[in-house]
Amino acid sequence: MNWLDRYLAAIGERLPARQRQDILKELRSLLLDALDHQTEGQAEYAEEDILAVIRQFGSPEEVALRYAPKPRYIIGPQLYDTYLTVTQILLTLVAFGIGVALVVELVRADLSLLAVMGQTVARVLSAGVSVIGWTTLVFALIERTSAGKYEAEPEGSELDDDVGNAAGWDPKTLPAFVSGERVSISDQAFSLAVAVLALVGANYLAVQLGIYGSVSGELTPELQVVNKDTVALLLPWWNAMWIAGFAIDAAALIQRRWRTGLRIGAIAVDIGSAILLAVLASSQLLLGENIIALAGPEQADGLATAARIAPQALRGIFIAAMLFTVWDMIEQIMALVRVHRGRSDVSGSTGQLG
């Protein structure tokens, strides 16, 4: 096999099968023309002449790339921002999940602190890598299959046409910039995760522990920590609050902007939630009758102690959640005030310009 054949074979390996034969046929012809020029029409080609011509043409990788430019990126500029946003949301959700698991494991007495910490580090690494890997894979597939994909121009021009076509865009659609309206993606993702957890926790776990147990009678009385009548009374309110909160957070995330209406909605949900949590914290409504009975003075064993501590622990959780909600509400109100102050500043400055 001579140098020319070896060279063409090496290029051919890197070309798409569909065009391979055609490109190689043309390249061979071009190489021989260059060789004729190099040897000034001699019938025999010397080895050094062949190698010199091949050297001028360049490495097989380079030649193949010029003929069949492949996208040399995983995710193109059109998808890049969305890719970053989605990755950020997913990482936040994963971080939240790992945080919840960490708290649960820390509370469990049978696990050593070291084991829990080790497991958490392993989880952060594996889940983080998985999320980034899978998101990248999905986006890479979208990049390579979508009809309107970004086409790599080998000449490296026409970026304007590909990325943002100026025609048909009106600068008047630009949103007025007001600092308090900015939506933090990770904050919103965190809120959404909390809402899902609160909904699932209340509906699934409470029903499992309380209503289900007392209705079927399969659970022993001491496991009944939730009063089914109370759950039946409060659950619709609880659900309404968290679903409304979820919807508002999702809307803010999708619009990437806290509009005044959404803010007011969020404040209303916060007020409702705070009242609900205050009711829960100030009463023993949520604890099942059996546990309350168990906590009586005549019971001295471990179960009674647990039954006595449980209401206090629950009350602590409700109070903490209530304070958190009130704090969120104050933040929302402050942001609303900031937005309106910002608005009047903006209109003031445009007035001066006009």
Binding site: I23, K25, E26, L27, S29, L30, L32, D33, A34, H37, Q56, F57, G58, E62, V63, R66, Y67, P154, E155, G156, S157
Partner: protein, 114 residues
């Protein structure tokens, strides 16, 4: 002085005229190597790795027709402007003349640069 940036700017400037240069020489049919020679003879140095893929791309874009000629010592692919290519050349030529006129008004004389 940032020599790489200057080199890139220079390449960018040359890149813009390549298509026009190639189309201008293909009113008569030529094969790759003869076109390379024609451009070089006129003072336009162009890399083989740039020119040959560019010819294929211009054909794909519908500006050139090509055919294999076996009349000579070895088979060669010849390229020539088709109707659409002629129209494209006309448009680019107009654009080029406007650019030259604009740039002449815009650019300082070399002696003014001192």
């Amino acid at each position: 002085m940032n020599e790489k940036a200057i080199r890139n700017a220079e390449l960018e400037l040359r890149r813009g005229i390549l298509t026009l240069s190639v189309l201008s020489q293909l009113q008569t049919r030529q094969y790759g190597y003869s076109l390379l020679q024609a451009l070089t003879d006129h003072g336009l140095e162009i890399d083989q790795n740039t020119l040959y893929p560019l010819l294929r791309r211009l054909e794909q874009q519908g500006f050139l027709d090509s055919d294999w000629s076996v009349a000579e010592s070895r088979p060669r692919r010849y390229y020539v402007l088709n109707q659409q290519g002629k129209e494209a050349l006309q448009i680019m030529l107009d654009q080029w003349q406007q650019l030259v006129a604009t740039m002449e008004r815009l650019l300082p004389m070399k002696e003014e640069l001192q």
